[in-house]
Subunit: 468 residues, 2 copies
């Protein structure tokens, strides 16, 4: 962005594409990229980082004592790896404590059900509550329901999550988790239970963030495991009225300060321009947060470290941001955007790894549409890792998805998430779910992506409607 | 056994094998067997039985209130299916209640670990206990250890269970579960934790029976999930002393009476001679006991029902025995043997289904070795279901394994148990783990096996050393 001719080019969108192609290759150092990919694939650095975070810290819910340990861990880890600059930036977060959650069928077939509280849920009355169940296929059916049918009952939203490589089943079903409590409470329900937003058949309930709304009563919200949801459905299918007992003891403990932790490999010629690689440091509290998101922390940290280990730094700074409090509402990302607003124009491009450790198969971007083909030419170095170029509609993932609103170009390095929602937000999110070779492929892709972008002379802005 | 010539033949072992082969086919009715297999494969009866037991009763630990409901369920189910005789026989069982079990690393990396009490374990002191951990590769290493290294510590037996189609990994590792507490206590340990005897990578601890020994202190015994065992091992591998807190509240509540539930399809010409098909009605308390052993209950019940539905009854009685209290020490099987001792000579052959719902691939028997080839000829009707003949060293499975000591021939219809120990004795043992088509194949095999045996004129006794 510092060269007037290129700036003009970006602003006027009059760039000659063939010129861009030539320019794009000027800074490309095939030898460096090959070397980065080779080093990434033979290195166990990322796996060791993920292992260290999950074993030595483990679960690290935003705002918890364990999360504070994770911040210390992250700062120490980035320093020990020799990043040029390592620092933390404060983020104010609400503190929610899970407590216990239990459910049981009281009639007609008494037995326990396995549940977990949704993140942010209020508690039941101390002695618990009992009510009959009303089942809905999905959130939309609940919204359409006659309130008198719902009043006084426990709403059961029984939508299954579809399994797709790109994880698109999640978006289709997560509405019940996010908004089920509000919609159920509007109609007088006393609690809401959802079928876990997950593709597994394990007795593992999937937690995740839920919302309340001013003016609507706050009712307890929890997820049943998939087998328990099937069990409850089987009882209801018999035509009986089913009565449940529910007891949950989560607590809202006010707010506290946690931190985004940042490490930089300083650019050689354009140190103020930033290629941002993000991941999130916090996790839900039931697993050790291995695929969500120790994997991402490990991938972007190892990728930047490998770039820093090259004989010559790339032009731009590679900034690793380990965001706080992603799980409870992208809070670290919002804080970063606010704190770095003056610097937003210096963010050349940003990407975030927050979808486990499956292999990357496609690179989507969101850039000025005139630059797309040249950017894709630069990213063709990823083909050696099995990554094809995708579209110009990337969202960038998690916190980074907040940045296009500030004009920042983003990339989505799409991972195979076929089994991601088997483990997501459950106690089962543990280190054994990460395949070391796939993790290393991610590092190879992120390292070469970041290097190419840190060297590129392409103007990627402004984001145009064509890139939406 | 009623024909003098055949009895003589059996006793003297002078039978002409070619004569036996001719005799063996006399009663064989290929049309009936084909019909049974065809009906089994198109019927959802077994699946409906398994669904009914797991949904309407659910977990049914021997001696529990739920187990009493299961007995009522079984008697009603057999009656509703039109069995000729349905009755229950009392079995005295100890009553053990699981209570709660929690564990946490106190130092150096504080975090929770997921455990479950082993069946029969005593409780910790009310306030729990804390101690450092000493790890052993297996029970043998513990037995060989210097007592001073073990005294005052929590013993961690970290043996992995191998995955095999025939389930043979279980036997190799289960010793630590059964005898770990005794061996650890002999050396002064305060508790024992084992890596779950299971082939999965889920945060699901596998319970199962453990033993104490007179004269050796009773210490609490629990299983860690596989990922938690790996986590603990990773901490120990760092060379730190690891301190755990452990709290368990199981209770021994004396004894109670439960029941073996029996249903018979009365034989047409030799009604006092019995082909016994067994399964067990009790389950562990954390799953709904679908693969262990609602599947077996469903398979043998449906198989006998299909035989009873044929236009003509086979010669012998097919007796379905739904045993009590298998999980806590084959107690129902021992009671059956004691109560039916006078009738043992009338048990023509026995088999038990207690290894989930995987497809049957092999039929082993334990019969007089002179009869082996003729029996295998009779069982060649199973080939249509993909079942080959195996060896003459069958144990018969679970309770039925007690019967050869009384001279009773047995068969083992071997199921594919590749994934059985992923779910065995965990909360994950639920209906969704049963594949309906595989369950139906089991019914086809059991029905045709039982029919062939109920019609056979082969003398199968005495069991000879060659059949051991």
């Amino acid at each position: 962005m510092k060269k007037p001719t290129l700036l003009l080019c970006a602003v006027t969108l009059l760039c000659n594409l063939s010129l861009l192609k030539v320019s794009a290759t000027e800074y490309t150092n095939q030898e460096v990229v090959s070397n980065l990919q080779h080093n990434a694939l033979k290195s166990d650095l990322a796996y060791k980082i993920a292992e260290s975070l999950t074993v030595e810290v483990g679960p690290r819910l935003a705002g918890s004592h364990e999360n504070a340990l994770a911040v210390d861990w992250a700062e120490a880890k980035l320093k020990s790896l020799g990043f040029d600059k390592v620092y933390r930036e404060p983020v104010t977060v609400p503190v929610w404590q899970r407590g216990e959650a239990s459910a049981a069928v009281i009639a007609p077939y008494p037995q326990k059900l396995i549940i977990t509280a949704l993140g942010g849920s209020v508690a039941t009355p101390t002695q618990g509550l009992q009510a009959t169940v009303i089942r809905f296929n999905d959130l939309q059916s609940l919204i359409a329901a006659e309130p008198s049918l719902v009043a006084g009952k426990i709403v059961f939203i029984d939508q299954k999550t579809e399994r797709h490589k790109n994880g698109s089943g999640y978006g289709k079903s997560v509405g019940g988790r996010a908004n089920g409590a509000v919609e159920a409470a509007r109609k007088g329900a006393v609690a809401v239970l959802i079928r876990s937003i997950g593709t597994d058949h394990d007795r593992m309930a999937h937690t995740g963030l839920m919302h309340y709304q001013d003016g609507v009563p706050k009712i307890p919200a929890a997820a049943l495991t998939n087998p328990d949801a099937t069990q409850l459905d089987a009882m209801l299918t018999r035509g009986h009225e089913v009565t449940l007992a529910l007891k949950m003891t989560p607590k809202d403990l006010g707010t506290t300060t946690t931190y985004n932790v940042i490490g930089e490999v300083t650019g050689s010629s354009k140190p103020k321009e930033i290629v941002l690689l993000g991941a999130h440091l916090d996790s839900w509290d039931e697993g050790t947060g291995a695929i969500d998101d120790a994997a991402g922390v490990a991938i972007v940290t190892a990728a930047a470290k490998l770039i820093g280990d090259q004989p010559k730094r790339p032009a731009r700074t590679v900034r690793v941001v380990l965001f706080a409090a992603e799980e409870i509402g992208l809070i670290g990302g919002k804080a970063y955007a606010a704190q770095h607003q003056a610097e937003m124009n210096d963010h050349y491009i940003a990407a975030e790894s927050d979808f486990g450790a499956g292999r990357i198969y496609r690179a989507d971007v969101k850039v000025n549409s005139a630059a797309l083909s040249a950017v894709q030419q630069q990213l063709s170095v990823l083909a050696a890792q099995g990554v094809t170029n995708g579209d110009n509609q990337a969202r960038g993932g998690s916190e980074v998805s907040l940045l296009p609103a500030y004009g920042v170009p983003v990339a989505s390095l799409r991972q195979d998430g076929e089994d991601y929602f088997d483990y997501h937000h459950t106690p089962n999110d543990t280190l054994d779910k990460i395949e070391p070779a796939a993790l290393a492929q991610n590092v190879a892709v992120y390292a070469s992506f970041a290097y190419q972008m840190a060297q590129s002379i392409l103007p990627l802005r402004p984001l145009t409607s064509g890139s939406k």
